[in-house]
């Protein structure tokens, strides 16, 4: 118990004094996961709309598949990307392994199924009468899509929050494709909150782990809080 309290106090000190290591790691976590979430949104939302409003064979099976992929373990995504971008892999020539870019790719792939699936849910949750009303008022395809998105905006926003939360909290893929590198330059390092916590704990640096853990919690919960506030306007 004493260890926890002591660790907690030192952690607060690290945060308040803006310890440079801790700050750099936190900033990197946010940047990488935020970028991944943006990319995933740009793909998932149009894709979700296309699937939801399209009529084609195997639509139900596709949606089932997407929902099954929600449970895709992060290490498997990490392993997959690792094999693809390792120097002996098909995309080895791009030299992406152990770069922040690789982590962005991995996290994007990771959250894509759940964001697509939730987008589909959000859009299908819009009253069919609303759809008829929009068509009846003479909406072009584009106008229709934009307005449906507007109607489902809260659910879609929640989707983005879920995506970001998942991206920033995962550690399996981040370690595999990032390597948890702490280099001298910000851009080349790949150590983020989750991988750092893992490392510091295994090295016995409890205060630092707790500090990073607090920050991770604050960020993850903070984002959800912001989204919830917007939704209640």
């Amino acid at each position: 118990m004493y260890e926890i309290i002591e660790g907690f106090l030192e952690a607060v000190e690290l945060i308040i004094t803006l310890d440079p290591d801790v700050m750099a790691i936190s900033a990197r976590s946010i940047i990488i996961s935020f970028t991944a979430t943006i990319f995933a949104t740009m793909i998932a939302v149009p894709l979700g709309a296309a699937i939801n409003f399209g009529t084609f064979r195997g639509k139900k099976s596709l949606i089932n598949l997407i929902q099954t992929l929600y449970a895709l373990p992060t290490v498997i995504v990490g392993l997959l990307i690792f094999l693809l971008i390792s120097r002996v892999g098909p995309f080895g020539f791009m030299r992406l392994l152990f770069t922040p870019t690789a982590m962005i790719i991995a996290q994007t792939v990771l959250v894509l199924p759940i964001m697509t699936g939730l987008t589909i849910s959000a859009l299908s949750g819009v009253d069919p009468v609303i759809r008829d009303t929009l068509h009846s008022l003479g909406a072009t395809r584009l106008q229709f899509l934009i307005n449906i998105m507007k109607e489902a905006r809260f659910a879609i926003l929640a989707t983005v929050a879920v995506g970001f939360g998942r991206a920033i909290s995962e550690v399996g893929a981040a370690i595999l494709v990032g390597g948890n590198i702490m280099a001298s330059s910000f851009m080349s390092s790949t150590r983020v909150l989750t991988t750092a916590i893992s490392l510091e704990t295994s090295m016995g640096n409890i205060p630092k782990s707790i500090a990073l853990g607090i920050i991770l919690l604050v960020i993850a919960l903070g984002v959800n809080l912001i989204i919830a506030t917007i939704q209640h306007r």
Partner: protein, 310 residues
């Protein structure tokens, strides 16, 4: 539907393009220094966790205007990275596997730069009475007492194919046991942790058991552990660290120039002095011994500790 599909496809392509664009900016050319080279090193967790490499790489980066990226993992994984050509330099401490690595042509230009000893730690009460014994004798005693059913005698193994684990297996072999039949799974006295050294030591501490540890990790955790060093002498406990270049013939994109620079850096006189004094301020004793002084003792050739790589 067609239009929407097109829209979705277009978005995916745009996203991919952006990703490729990002790749361009994280290449060795960082916005600040135009000609900074990147050196990628794979090493084991036990070496990395001592923070020796962080200290040395800071010096190296200044002298050579380079950026050192270090990935640490279990020995097995580090070697895997080397085999896949994902790094430029491999630094491990498992002689047998290094030899295979070199023989298979994955590595070249091995140089030994430091060594230290493994230690057997355990509870102060020492129920198996191993203090002062030779490592093989100590292991035999532990096993005997454990198999006989003495509940206070437990051995916690890394159990993760790391360098430390390999050394442990070598000691069992040296003591005359067949690891897979006589030791592994032979009773509750032998427990496999499957974790890194720090976590294994924590577990050992919890159970007040015996374990094999590298000196660096033990010293780092010492304050939190109720374990003492019981056996620290014996040739078999020797732990030799080397650095080798990934073979540019197998992987032509390897940054061989900077890799060679690093290896030469490690065996340079100044760095050897740095290594020999590392950790004294913090722990009261050095964590490593410079290889150059004791090449005979540790069983390698003079060339391996002094010859610069060309």
């Amino acid at each position: 539907m067609r239009r929407r599909t097109l829209f979705a496809v277009a978005t995916v392509m745009v996203a991919l393009l952006l990703i490729c664009g990002c790749t361009g900016t994280t290449q060795p050319d960082t916005p600040v220094d135009t000609e900074k080279q990147q050196l990628r090193i794979a090493t084991t967790t036990s070496l990395y966790d001592t923070k020796l490499l962080d200290r040395l790489s800071a010096i190296f980066e200044e002298e050579h205007n380079a950026e050192v990226l270090i990935v640490s993992a279990g020995t097995g994984k580090a070697i895997e990275y080397g085999q896949r050509g994902d790094v430029d330099v491999l630094m491990v401490h498992d002689r047998a596997r290094e030899d295979v690595f070199l023989a298979d042509g994955y590595g070249t230009n091995r140089r030994v730069f430091a060594y230290n000893y493994f230690i057997i730690v355990g509870p102060e009460s020492d129920p198996a009475a191993i203090k002062g014994l030779q490592p093989e004798e100590a292991f035999t005693a532990i096993r005997e007492k454990g198999m006989a059913g003495d509940a206070d005698v437990i051995f916690v193994s890394r159990g993760d194919a790391s360098g430390t684990h390999s050394k442990e297996k070598a000691i069992w072999k040296g003591a005359g046991f067949n690891y897979s039949t006589d030791v592994q799974g032979s009773g509750d006295w032998y427990q496999e942790a499957g974790t890194g050294m720090g976590a294994t030591l924590s577990m050992t501490n919890e159970k007040q058991a015996y374990a094999l540890s590298d000196i660096g990790t033990y010293l780092a955790y010492k304050g939190d552990l109720d374990l003492v060093t019981l056996v620290d002498e014996g040739d078999i406990l020797l732990n030799v660290y080397c650095a080798m270049q990934i073979n540019p013939e197998k992987y032509p994109d390897i940054n061989s120039t900077i890799a060679k620079d690093w290896i030469n850096f490690m065996i340079s006189d100044d760095v050897q002095k740095e290594i020999a004094s590392f950790g004294v301020d913090q722990y009261g004793q050095p964590l490593f011994y410079a290889a150059q002084d004791d090449w005979e003792k540790i069983g390698v050739s003079l060339a391996e500790v002094t010859d610069p790589v060309l």
